[in-house]
């Protein structure tokens, strides 16, 4: 007998997993487009620390000379990305789930404690609800990045008809650079996300699939339970 705690609603789980292939396809087709004018780099003056992207990277993934293909994919799957994102956002707002994600007054301070804890520097965590302070900040940031992708994308897609939007992001070239930068940030988020999920373990990961986490109940509570176990009731409910 275990205590089952329902953590993620069904809608959140579906929208989360739908986003995974959609975002993968958007980033992939984005790479095919970016290659045709691959001007961004990390460095100063003539010194380049990291070119986006090295020739070997492009070659390994067979990226060169696929601009038309990349555009045709990007401008189709953009709809799915946008629709999924809008539904997710509306769900958060109307279900009240946003309360678990939006950072609160203490989040900034507490997120440092979470980081120190995760880096094995400090023991113990402040009490938390569904997400800890660092998660709240990260997940809120990722929603804002999604919105940023949508808007900078629109700005470079229709820079004349939506010239006000393009101007808002500092003009066409800035908007393109921002669109690219957010992509890199999303990829970094994804990498940290994966590492954190691995460290958090099976119970946490399973919750994004099944919706629930389980908790062992100690012997004391178990003996204190009524002779008629609760689970028989829930089982019949389920079968009904």
């Amino acid at each position: 007998m275990k205590k089952v705690i329902h953590k993620h609603p069904l809608a959140i789980r579906w929208l989360h997993w739908l986003n995974f292939p959609i975002l993968t396809i958007m980033i992939w087709s984005g790479l095919l487009i970016y290659w045709a004018n691959d001007v961004y780099r990390l460095g100063w003056g003539d010194r380049t620390v990291l070119k986006f992207f090295p020739g070997s990277f492009n070659k390994a993934l067979n990226i060169p000379f696929r601009l038309a293909e990349g555009m045709s994919i990007h401008f189709v799957f953009m709809w799915l990305f946008a629709i999924n994102g809008v539904i997710y956002f509306l769900y958060l707002v109307f279900s009240g789930e946003w309360k678990f994600i939006a950072p609160n007054r203490n989040s900034l301070k507490e997120s440092w404690l979470v980081i120190l804890h995760d880096l094995r520097i400090k023991r113990g965590l402040p009490p938390q609800k569904k997400y800890n302070a660092a998660q709240r900040i990260a997940y809120t940031a990722v929603i804002i990045m999604g919105l940023g992708m949508l808007l900078t994308g629109l700005a470079i897609y229709k820079p004349v008809q939506l010239n006000w939007l393009c101007a808002m992001f500092g003009g066409y070239e800035w908007a393109r650079a921002e669109h690219f930068t957010i992509t890199i940030l999303l990829v970094l988020f994804f990498l940290i996300h994966i590492i954190q999920v691995i460290f958090a373990g099976w119970n946490n990961f399973r919750a994004m699939v099944t919706g629930f986490e389980t908790e062992n109940i100690d012997a004391k509570t178990e003996t204190a339970m009524p002779t008629e176990p609760i689970n028989t009731k829930s089982e019949t409910d389920e079968q009904a």
Binding site: M71, F75, K158, N163
Partner: protein, 250 residues
Amino acid sequence: MNKREELLTEKQIRRRTFIAFTFLFLFLGSAILGWQWLHRQPTDHGAIQPLRKVLDANEFIFSSLFSKKHFAKTYSKDLPLPHPRVNGKIGLNSAFDTATWKLHLVKAPGDTLLIGIDEIKALPKTEIIFDFKCIEGWSQVTHWGGVRFSDFVKKYGLDEQSKMMFAGLSTPDDEYYVGIDTKSMMHPQTILCYEMNGKPLPLNQGYPLRLIIPVKYGIKHLKRIGTISFSNYRPPDYWYERGYDYYSGL
């Protein structure tokens, strides 16, 4: 708190876990199968057919944003400008006699008007300095001069033609050709261009006459115009045939 709790046996938990993961794998599996299915579809003008249909739907949706009052941002003449990049030579490689060049204006099948460059230069001149945008992703602020296409239409009595859906332009050797919706052609920033940086166009920029159409990507700015015609059907378009969006509007 929004957390529902219940007590379940190990067996029930395993069962629920199994079902949920089955759905996840079915979903991820069908995403992969769907992707593979997409790539098995026939192509339509170089683009995968279902994608091409959405691109055409995008045109329908986003052309509704189009307005003659939406302008490409323009820049002041005082700004130092980069040397305009030469990015396409298709249609410029054939032997070409600049002295005998005339614009072939097809008003109707069998009714072609030949127009010399001096007649075009006699029309009111419009200059534009704007951020030329290539479909590859780069852009450059460049300075062009010529006659507004809408002024040209007025002068040559093309009211009827300009109400048709498309204009088709091609180089004298017909190696390069574009199709453009007449709404974009009639935009006040669209010019039949004969000057770059205040001087006659260089040969590699389309001397004697090219199109400058800031509401489109560079692929539509045809150099060395040979023929202009009108149609209610999409005229052939070089890059459209190679998988790009027909509309390519900005």
